[in-house]
Symmetry: C2
């Protein structure tokens, strides 16, 4: 085990800019009680699911329209005060923390589904709509929206972090599924990117530039995403394995053979245990793949036969089926709650969550050594993975009051990321950089590319008011 | 028929910057005869497949390595001289024209396949590798690269224009298929974007920003793209229809039902005729869909049955099968050559090619009225379409020496683009903006979004040396 070669980035630097009373007064003049400086509201908006603890923002504004977002950003620009877009607060990487102070701009009340274009397989929503709200709204059309991070995040937040989830192995991530945006720029101007056409070569891909920009280039006020026909046939199964390596190798072969599997999720035995406890299930407590197959009845049968054969060659047990839609929902809800199950398995803990993603052929190299290291360190952890994408999460469960535990977790995280980068992978498959992966971003892409990101940031937000202090230092 | 509301953009403004003798001398000192000022070489690099005629570049450089590209760009930056990246010259939109003079940087000798990562379904190539070279190189792996513009374009050029082709309806465009890039920036620095992982949330999506930037933000020197397993079963068929509307409506229903069709191409009866002549085929000379189905044998049969039923409901004739691989190749080669067949059908003509793409439900509205308008104007044209994507091309065949013909073609083009934009579409599905669609870009995305593109351009290329005068005016 090598010592980390760079200093550990344990806690963010905090350098808060004050929110002037004149700005608060101007906001309250138009928005009334929807601009709040109450301690409890600020504190609610001053944390997310990350393990950091920084002072809350100076004020919280609840916007209800694009006009209001533009108004707030214009005022903030006049006063050079930071704006931190806020959805439902499920970031894992400190995106929502007011490390430079300023205003938390809560868009959760912008939660209208604006247009369901079923005949074009698209839907346009305000940014505060959550993924389950979206799917409820389109249910009667026979279409669905596949991107499903663990939390019931907002579409705005998922766009800002380039989120994915369990279905990404077949349906892609927010990168592939956002067609068009409305965005309020750093000067408070409203622009539109993209069209409703499936493809376009019209100029710079501003849509893709905004997707994953973590609120640092604009405030997203409208999102058009792709929808998909509900598959004719759906089958979901679990398969338990004698070892983690067997489950991982099964995954690698499924992907290399081009099976269009819809979901291919890994849990290790420890995590199955906590999921069983949390969700009152009785899954066999060994390394396990949770899989789902979409297609025509014949197509699904073909996929299942092939995957069963691959699993059997890798010492997998017989598939256990989630036969009814209710059983499927129960299984996937349990999977989505695995993060919370993990965190709750150690009362009072915080999770430091990793998010590496590697080329599929290197998944075993990346994952198995990281698990061994965590076991050797003796730290409690959970392990879940969108392994079909080469993406997995270790959650190191630390007592936030014991610095040595945080240090151990950060050391393990550091080793894990360095390993992933050496294998041609990325430090973050779907959570974003935020505060926690800034040093890793430079290691991953090189200082030249990060300098290019800085140049873009300076050009589009010259006063550095949009979610400052995230992704890279300026 | 409405008169166009904006002035027609008939010919590009030319404002050539000279290439100083000292720069030529410095280039020749290192590159010898690979820096040429010969009239014939300059003229070869001073045109593309567009209908514009502007003076050639001041010099042509043939680079053989990333180092050489960086060297050339550094020198050009010192002298503030434009650099126009050049592959094999198949742009349809004037991308390669030296409207501000400068150096054509030919990368066609950078044509090495650098790494075939079959186990990760990716390949890394130099920018001068063409799509057929790439597919020849990976053939023994059982994998293929699906993106296929009509011409045998280079991967670098296809990346720069966000190209697609006949397979995009199933496999996506260059936007979805480029994983990572090496790029020489405007200052001559070499940077890398992306990783070999399938997904990432690590900072701004510089890969997607470069894809489609038409050589204006950097010179692409290495491209990593996705590969796909060759499908177990492939079936290709043509289906002729009594009317164009029937063929279009069949397409719309295929897509709305979510059939994972691999290719769904439209030709009108006139175009079938010229394709028959050019490729010595005997396709029935009526509106026609050319289709291909990929999957398992059972999956392909399911798709075929469903599509046959849809076509029959829309007055389609029985499918005619391209039964052998050789027949399939012959069919698709003919389709790829349709552009050249069209141009050669009127000796001495130039084609003014349209490229709108609309949401699938609006395809009939966009396409049928445009055809009627062309017929009423009495101008010769061909019509081909990647209609499964909502994308089609009219090629107006004009005598370049008759200004009235160019004017008619531009008027028709203008009407067609305005119609597509009103339907929620884009002025360019896959060819790029280049010189020809600059005014349309503003109409499509709004001046605010184009101003954002300008700000990015100024930040990344402050001297405006990278392919200046394209996409938007500065």
């Amino acid at each position: 085990m090598n010592a980390p070669t760079a200093p550990l980035h344990l806690l963010p630097t905090v350098n808060q800019r004050p929110v002037p009373p004149a700005l608060i007064a101007a906001l309250q003049a138009r928005l009334g009680t929807r601009c709040s400086t109450a301690q409890v509201v600020r504190e609610q908006h001053g944390r997310d699911e990350s393990s950091f603890d920084v002072p809350p923002p100076g004020a919280v504004v609840f916007a209800q329209s694009t006009d209001e977002v533009a108004f707030v950003v214009q005022l903030a620009a006049e006063h050079r005060v930071p704006i931190i877009p806020f959805g439902v607060g499920t970031s894992l990487e400190g995106h929502l923390l007011a490390v430079e102070g300023g205003i938390s701009l809560d868009v959760s009340q912008m939660n209208q589904v604006l247009a369901i274009n079923a005949e074009d397989l698209t839907v346009t929503v305000q940014p505060g709509v959550t993924r389950t709200q979206l799917n409820t709204a389109v249910k009667s059309t026979g279409l669905f929206f596949p991107i499903d991070p663990g939390a019931d995040a907002t579409i705005g937040g998922m766009t800002a972090t380039r989120a994915s989830g369990t279905n990404a192995v077949r349906y892609g991530t927010m990168r592939e599924n956002v067609l068009a945006l409305e965005v309020v720029t750093a000067s408070g101007e409203v622009i539109r990117t993209g069209t409703h056409a499936k493809k376009s070569s019209a100029g710079y891909d501003l849509t893709r530039l905004m997707v994953g920009s973590e609120g640092t280039l604009g405030v997203i006020t409208e999102v058009t995403v792709k929808l998909y026909p509900l598959p004719e046939a759906v089958m979901a199964a679990t398969c338990s394995f004698a070892s983690l390596a067997d489950a991982v190798n099964t995954t690698i072969q499924i992907i290399q053979l081009g099976v269009p599997i819809a979901r291919c999720e890994l849990l290790d035995s420890t995590t199955v245990k906590v999921v069983n406890q949390h969700s009152k299930l009785s899954l066999p407590e060994s390394a396990m793949l949770l899989m789902e197959f979409h297609g025509s009845p014949a197509g699904v049968n073909e996929q299942v036969e092939l995957v069963q054969a691959i699993a059997a060659e890798n010492n997998g047990n017989a598939f256990e089926w989630a036969a009814t839609p209710e059983e499927r929902t129960r299984l996937w809800t349990a999977r989505h709650n695995a993060y919370f199950a993990g965190v709750q398995s150690r009362p009072g803990c915080k999770a430091i969550t990793t998010d590496t993603c590697v080329p599929i052929s290197r998944l075993a190299d990346a994952l198995l050594d990281s698990v061994t290291e965590a076991q050797q360190a003796g730290i409690p952890y959970f392990l879940v993975g969108h392994v079909g994408d080469g993406n997995f999460h270790m959650g190191y469960l630390i007592d936030p009051n014991v610095p040595a535990e945080r240090e151990t977790a950060e050391r393990l995280n550091h080793q894990l990321v360095q390993r992933a980068l050496a294998l041609g992978g990325t430090c973050t498959g779907e959570h974003g950089v935020g505060l926690h992966k800034m040093e890793f971003l430079v290691a991953e892409t090189g200082s030249g590319a990060v300098d290019m990101m800085r140049a873009i940031k300076r050009a589009l937000d010259p006063q550095n008011i949009l979610n400052p202090g995230k992704i890279f230092s300026l």
